[in-house]
């Protein structure tokens, strides 16, 4: 019976694969109903997915809140936490109200349906064809944690200068207009999934998407005052280290949970994830040691997060040792994106959301095309003689990049039309904690 379930999971996740060859909505539909009929809530899968949901929530609060606030100056620590925290609350409500149904119901190529608005029709026994062994409510809240952290990630690029109210407006709009559609395209049966794009846990939907939006924001808001001149040394890096630890642990739920059950695929996803994070940290450490003469803690944690972001799309499709290679790639690519590319292009992506998540997400998504292994995820990549998968992945990257860039640009502009995006000079100097929230670290 497990084997059966497991097979089914494969089917679901690799609709893509199936579709890749016979690209017809029909095929998909069939596959799905097939799933439906066979659906039954499995207690073990439910146990694991509840925990996975808690782990991914922990990635945002307190994980990401710590990771980010540990890299800013004292005067902005609380404001940085506030962004993650408020985005979590706001996007959770919006996701339950409208986001989920638009992303994960129906088989439309572009958007889902309105069948599940405000969870309408979701009862104790309801199951989604996309997660055939757990309650649909669990699938909804699990996916909610992904939506939340993606929005929260963007804040890192505009840290130290974006107005809190403008950030909230942007978050709400961006969730619905940028995140939701892409989630549907890649995971909800949309055109990218049908085209065979593989993204196990969010290389495109989460990381590339957030990285691009962040980059656009960094350009539109402009650099922080004193950028390049004044000392922007982090106030308390230990917060960032704690945050990285919680992110790393939480990522077990992020990538492992994307198997949607307590099965071997979840185990392999977690193994590849852990190895990629380790290699990413070691690689960044080694490079910095070599280039700068000293291995910084910030470097190690940056490498770990780079490895985690990069393995995300691949985790459930590749072998553990591929995780080592992908982690290595992540360390190298993201290191230079943060220490060279950023300087070269002159944008001020405060906490390197683009350099770490954008670049990492894209790299990982493409590498899935190289390493995808049939025995793990049911799909073969370049190494198994299916080179076209690389192109399919590239297609996914380009589409995500394009939509995220264009739509984010428009949204930032739209928000700035009715409220300034950036705090005034005086507030920026005094710090966001006091000026935006009326609080301060003593």
């Amino acid at each position: 019976m497990r084997v059966a379930t497991f097979a089914r999971v494969n089917v679901t996740r690799s609709l893509a694969a199936a579709a890749a060859f016979t690209v017809t909505a029909a095929a998909t539909a069939v596959a799905q109903s097939a799933v439906q009929s066979a659906s039954k809530i499995d207690p073990a899968d439910t146990a694991w997915m509840i925990v996975a949901t808690a782990l991914v929530l922990m990635m945002s609060i307190p994980g990401l809140a710590l990771f980010y606030s540990g890299m800013v100056r004292k005067k902005n620590v609380l404001a940085t936490m506030a962004q993650t925290f408020a985005a979590t609350a706001l996007c959770s409500v919006l996701w339950m109200a409208i986001g989920y149904t638009l992303a994960f119901t129906g088989a439309g190529p572009i958007l889902g349906t309105l069948n599940r608005v405000l969870m309408r029709g979701i009862g104790m026994d309801t199951i989604s064809p996309l997660a055939p062994t757990i309650p649909e409510a669990l699938f909804l809240i699990y996916q909610m944690t992904f939506a939340v952290i993606t929005v929260a990630l963007v804040a890192g690029s505009v840290a130290d200068r974006m107005r809190f109210s403008a950030f909230l407006w942007f978050s709400a709009l961006w969730l619905l207009i940028v995140y939701v559609p892409i989630a549907h395209w890649v995971w909800g049966g949309g055109f990218l999934q049908r085209a065979g794009v593989l993204d196990f846990a969010g290389g495109t939907v989460v990381h590339l998407n957030a990285g691009i939006a962040g980059l656009v924001g960094a350009y539109l808001l402009g650099a922080r005052r004193g950028y390049g001149a004044d000392n922007f040394a982090p106030y308390d890096l230990s917060l960032a280290v704690i945050g990285t630890g919680l992110l790393w642990v939480g990522w077990f739920g992020f990538n492992g949970g994307s198997a949607l059950g307590a099965n071997s695929r979840a185990v392999f996803a977690i193994t590849a994830t852990h190895l990629a994070a380790s290699m990413g940290a070691l690689t960044w450490m080694a490079l910095e040691w070599w280039v700068r003469g000293k291995p910084s803690v910030l470097g190690m944690i940056s490498g770990a997060v780079a490895g985690l972001g990069t393995i995300t799309p691949a985790s459930g499709f590749v072998l553990p040792w591929h995780g080592l290679v992908i982690g290595l790639a992540a360390g190298v690519v993201c290191f230079y994106a943060c220490t060279w590319l950023k300087i070269a292009c002159g944008y001020d992506d405060s906490l390197d959301v683009f350099g770490v998540h954008g670049i990492g997400g894209a790299t990982g998504t493409i590498l899935v095309g190289v390493f995808a292994t049939r025995s793990i995820g049911g799909v073969s990549g370049l190494l198994e003689g299916h080179p076209s998968q690389v192109l399919i992945q590239l297609y996914g990257v380009v589409v995500t990049l394009a939509w995220s860039a264009i739509a984010s640009f428009i949204l930032f502009k739209a928000v700035s039309a009715f409220t300034p995006l950036r705090v005034d000079k005086q507030s920026e100097m005094e710090g966001l904690d006091v000026t935006q929230h009326g609080e301060a670290l003593q």
Binding site: G226, A229, D230, M429, E430, V434, T435, G438, E439, A440
Partner: protein
């Protein structure tokens, strides 16, 4: 010799340091202090409680200089630390009767 004590706005430190270097001053000691004056503070809110914070962060510079450099240094600081807004701070000049460089035992002007 004189001890020039200046209270300035924190974000002006780099500018002042550069200005001092440019007039040939290569040593100083700074302290993070809090200042009370005309510049009004902000209000902090913690649930039921509101606190008006009147003591604002400032940087206190101490620079020991030879008699003859005093005016040049005072001017350099005034110029560099000035924003024209309330809270720019003060400069006080205090007499030093004796100075020693611990490392060498040199005294007075040589000690600076």
């Amino acid at each position: 010799m004189k001890l020039i004590t200046a209270i300035i706005k924190p974000f002006k430190l780099e500018d002042v340091r550069d200005a001092l270097v440019s007039v040939g001053i290569h040593g100083m000691t700074i302290t993070e202090v809090k200042g009370y004056g005309r510049q009004k503070g902000h209000t902090e809110i913690y649930r039921g409680a509101e606190y008006v914070v009147n003591f604002l962060p400032k940087i206190r510079l101490e620079i020991a200089v030879a008699e003859e450099d005093t005016d040049r240094v005072v001017e350099a600081i005034s110029a560099a630390a000035k924003t024209g807004q309330i809270g720019d701070g003060k400069i006080f000049v205090i007499p030093i009767e004796q100075a020693v460089r611990i490392r060498t035992g040199e005294t007075d002007a040589d000690a600076l």
